[in-house]
Symmetry: D2
Subunit: 437 residues, 4 copies
């Protein structure tokens, strides 16, 4: 985790301190469930909580780990030194992964909740801009080439919808990861009982793993990191769009530029879309973490621990970056300076070439074969591109066109409002979808 790209909330979430406190929560939940079943003396969990909860010393635990080279045993040794006798009732019949995996699930759920708040902020921003620019005409582009008119609101609505799908994927992954196991060494409850587990996990907001091995199955984690990769990629599409809009020649939108901010150490006139570029980089990282997570799934037999080093890195890094990313993107969309006048200027630049399809369809309706009509329209369109006149005028002057379409009919094909008549409905459709925050 690098502070530059991580909010303090996520840094705290993945701190040693919070991790150990979460381990203790798991141990206490298990202990409480055993008390209820009579396996452990009543009141044990309360006694332990009183002496240990909130009082764990990460540095001391790391000292123990230095010696034992085993993190959970080190943790338990520390609890024992804080708590004394009642500590022997902890971890009864359990294995380290019972603690670690439930705690990891809790932390990944906490992280998902933080990220989802950010996703909602970002979607709210996209929704607002979609409504604001519902009718702001702009040229649509395919292959980077002017195609036909759209509205700027459609673009934001598209981000809104895509982020809704990414959100749904993350919500699904959050459900899938909210799973623990308190099932002992190889998941057989040899010295435990599924009933303890049910109760203990429920009190932590988790469900039991269907078929536990020593650990919770890692396909769940891979699903989680794939959902983050997908979220990052959705933000990347938004960010790339902003980068295109902000290009000097396009100039249709630009990132807000803070007072005092400097664009370039060498060139004082520059305003660069650096937030968007930054988001593109983060998307690459999130994609790469998903690859590593997928390689963690096929562990050996009832478990090997090769996933652990990966998760220690990508658990904090992927969630920290994703959380940072969606909030940065929300600020970006909120502050984006949309230049509707420039959009209109660009739209008008090609002199209505984008109405070529409407002209073609009018010809077809008049009985021309499609391919013949296509060649007729293309002939005039290319002439217009080569600067031989306005597309509208060239069409009127082309005898093969004029013999089929009169001036009024040509005018009807050159109607922007007609062209965009469905834009509002598309936006409404997107904003009405159930995943809206």
């Amino acid at each position: 985790m690098i502070p530059r790209y991580t909010r303090p909330e996520l840094i705290r979430l993945w701190s040693d301190h919070h991790r150990y406190e979460t381990w203790l929560r798991v141990e206490l939940a298990a202990c409480t469930a055993m008390e209820a079943a009579g396996t452990v003396p009543a009141g044990t969990a309360a006694k332990i909580a009183a002496k240990a909860a909130g009082k764990l010393d990460p540095a001391r635990i790391l000292e123990h780990e230095e010696r034992t080279r085993h993190d959970v045993i080190a943790f338990l040794s520390h609890v024992e030194e804080l708590v004394g006798e009642p500590a022997r009732w902890l971890h009864l019949g359990m294995t380290s992964s019972d603690v670690l995996d439930a705690a990891l699930a809790i932390n990944l759920v906490e992280a998902a909740d933080q990220i989802l708040v950010g996703v909602d902020l970002l979607r709210v921003a996209c929704r607002r801009r979609a409504e604001e620019h519902r009718a702001t005409a702009a040229i649509g582009r395919s292959h980077g080439i002017h195609a036909e008119p759209i509205t700027a609101g459609l673009v934001f609505a598209g981000f809104y919808a895509e982020l809704g799908r990414a959100r749904a994927a993350l919500v699904g992954a959050r459900v899938e990861i909210a799973v623990g196991k308190i099932a002992g060494a190889v998941g057989t409850y040899a010295n435990l009982d599924p009933a303890f587990e049910d109760a203990a996990l429920a009190s932590l907001g988790l469900r039991p793993e269907t078929v536990p091995t020593q650990i919770v199955a890692r396909d769940r984690h891979a699903g989680y990191f794939m959902a983050l990769a997908r979220l990052g990629t959705a933000v990347e599409r938004l960010a790339i769009t902003v980068r295109h809009w902000q290009r000097t020649e396009v100039g249709e939108a630009m990132e807000a530029f803070g007072k005092g901010q400097k664009g370039s150490s060498a060139m004082p006139h520059k305003k660069n879309p650096i937030l968007s570029e930054n988001l593109c980089g983060i998307a690459r990282l999130l994609r790469s973490y998903a690859s590593a997570a997928l390689e963690d799934v096929a562990l050996w037999h009832e478990r090997d621990i090769s996933h652990s080093s990966v998760e220690r890195v990508i658990g904090p890094d992927a969630t920290g970056l994703a959380d940072f990313m969606v909030r940065r993107a929300a600020g970006l969309v909120d502050g984006l300076v949309v230049n509707a006048a420039r959009m209109r200027e660009n739209l008008d630049r090609t002199g209505g070439l984008y109405f070529s399809e409407a002209v073609l369809l009018s010809l077809v309706r008049k009985g021309m074969a499609r391919q013949a009509g296509y060649e007729l329209v293309q002939r005039n369109a290319l002439a217009a591109v080569e600067g031989k006149g306005s597309f509208r005028a060239l069409l009127a002057a082309d005898p093969d066109i004029a013999s089929r379409l009169d001036a009024t009919e040509i005018d009807r094909a050159f109607d922007l409002a007609h062209h965009l008549r469905h834009a509002g409905a598309i936006i409404d459709r997107a904003l009405a979808e159930k995943d809206a925050p």
Copy 2:
């Protein structure tokens, strides 16, 4: 697609012929919807279908494409030459991607359906083996080291459950990909109507894209290929388990060996788990395709076509391999020769060391601190490993143990049936889950 790893069904599904026929289905669906709305003369679609459906000539279309360098225009030219005049009513107000993306969605759904049949075959096989070996005792292993007893049925039940999650992910991806757009050049319905689209897509089993651009959003496709990657990885875990079981020293299961099959050109005595190894390689391919698909999402503006070359390769390859993989895995599990006697032999090999935890817990219940108990048990366990006697005997001879546990109490810790008493319930829990075929 390489025939070696693709079933004929999938080769047909991705053939030029089937692709072009699917394009025609989409054009006809749109045409029919327009007829209903009165935009196109009644009976047009029927006339076109009569002359073209089932009669498309892929070679001829490729000839047209050679000249136009545009696949859909080439296709339409061919339809025009087959059908004559009515063809001019096709593709009205539509753009190529209206056809291509709806057709791709149809083909990906068809492929998913094939794969899901295979997944169900595989799950049925896992279910059968889980029930068959519900009580077959075996040693569970963590880190490749003997841990505590499990049953072989638990392992199959674990595959069953994991494949159920992979199946659910693929079913979700299938829903998400079953989307088209008939919305024209940049998705604004400029010369179309959302009502046409609804009707046309519904007749094809598809839903409309929420906010179409020129194309259907590519995060849907990335989701699809991630689901295949996840499925591949689930199969990989199964395959790696078989490979471990079949190791000479382990020998707990082996792939069925066909009559006439040869294991090695040099070593006539070998029986190698080559099916399982093959499946591991395929899982790598499926993971890599998901990476490429994720890079396809952030296209420029209303679309660029960089995703197309990727999809032409990974659409057929990923689905063909996934389909092949699950059926090969089903055969593997069905035919797997499980050696229960060898499982028992391996289980007994460490002389009950796996009961060490039960001994430890007995000590704790007698009032020992956990860490002190751990060291006591470890001392005897390591002595047993070093060949200084059986673990059971060493424990009994250790005065620090003997002073706390008598022979009966030690015996109680050495009870395999007790150890495995919950195995059946776990298996039942897995097989009862709703994703079962």
Copy 3:
């Protein structure tokens, strides 16, 4: 391999027929080496070659494989049926991988040679365009925003240099992969001799693996596919530049547009950079194949065969695509229509804002602190961007500037030829590098 993106040469290279013929070459090379050592009767290889070389029937071999499920044994059975008695001297002491890996190395070297020819064609094209546009002024862009002037030749020289590095990496990978082993089952030469291997491999243009296991080490193959990924990525940078240049608003270059070619089925006026977009997609595929290849390295013990399915797919696909890609890119660069007038127009668009740094430096030379100067220049640059006047005029009118720089001094900062005085030298430096074809 899909024909659309593969040249016939590469399809032939990876055909069953060529593969089997290569196997036979390896077997004959080994046989010949053994004849020289007296282990095999003189003349055996010649007898076999006479009856089998060029006469192998792939369909027949696949029939044998159906039965034996072992490709090399199937191949040997076929040779035996063609050749009769002398065939028993083939494969003596060898294992399948002795044949397969040497043959794969030969095929990968052949593929690399094809690709390298294409790389050289591409580099020749870049060199030519670099020289042609050595002095064609254009605006350089960072973050998509106008920065300072460059020449178009510099851009092509940059591609030339980067492709030179990619070429060097591929040449290195070609050397590294040109390795075989004829060392028997687990690489110990138990029934062979390193001397045979030396001679046999040398006659095939290969070197012996340093420490053979059953196979040639797969880090070599991973290195090869990483080199292809790198090559693809270098081409991608070129392709993305073309896509940016061709944007409607930029218009500085465009892909050659074939006679009869159609840009869009809906919009007859469009000319899209589809070749470049296609290349970007292929780059993603090449990157993904490298991931799969890296997962192939850490095989079990002396080998497992999980790499095989991966290599059967990515061997042909990655080389076929890379070969196609560099030749397509060569055609793209050769035919690219560079619009120098538009480059100049875009360069002039910002009214010399790009001289802001030169102005800043003049102020610093006059004794201003850098940061103070920066703010002074930025003030006028932003005013110019906001349309308050030309940058040159605003500077002259700013009293804080005027008090430090007179008109002549400002003029000196606004000198394009001075700005670009080193461009030619950079281009010469690039074209002089030793990796030039």
Copy 4:
């Protein structure tokens, strides 16, 4: 970077403090070069160094960055406040990336040097173990199945050779990354001179970028991270081998087990190969970082800054992990407890089945067709596997064998020393290779 997997040296290397000091080194090198050329007053660099070198305050720079949102401007502001007037001569005609990229190159070279020391330690350990176990017989395995005998030394020699190739790749990447540019905004030396750059970079141990844009080309960095991925994968193969050796049933080697170390919180008898598993996880991370780095190459025009967030993460993380990994692997190999007796026991377990090939070859030499001989030998081998007698005895009792080979001839095929006669030469060949440390 997580301290758990990073040595303090690498944490220092990537600290803010060291980074800023490196930036200052670059600025001073450029300043000194300009002094030599007379562009800057003599003695400026010395004055600045006296007041700033070793005195930079990272916290203060971050404060400036908070305001300017530009890291290099923030750094320069801080130097200006430390140094006063002479600071205005810094950064003259330069752009931020002139500083950043040269500094990054220096840091990546420093990191590579640390990693290479670790690689050499690891190779020394492999060499020692290869020599030590030059003649330690063991069973070679393919597909996890016993194949033919090898020596343990061969395995270590194989690691040694593979690590030598990975080392060569990293050395190559180190050369390729040792490149900077002091060429100004878009790499044209508009306000600079290539001669300054040569001198400045040479004094820093760097070469100039062939064709600079605003930045050093990112294919160099991708090459670097691919080399680390390759190194990680080489270590992974070693680690997987150890994990296999340590399996309970195999037991041929085990990781050294520290005094006080605990294998499992539940099972006191366990000794797990956790170092090796940890290394496997790290290899996955290194592979994933290479993916992200490859996506950084195709930046827009003369640069965009999307690579920066990726590099801020993977620069420290990938090098920190690689450095940690090779040293941990060196310790692992050094301390590995090789159990030669168990190797011999496993070797003997299959009763000489591995001599089947030698028997087959004897039959072929006696004139049998290969395929007929294969079936004869396989018949007896499978009988032996099924427990019907020892392979040696079964062969002698098979009339079809006995009619061709007498007892002495069979004995000759069952000669382990003969089988392994070349092992020493292979090891010597590996250890003699020039990449040896």
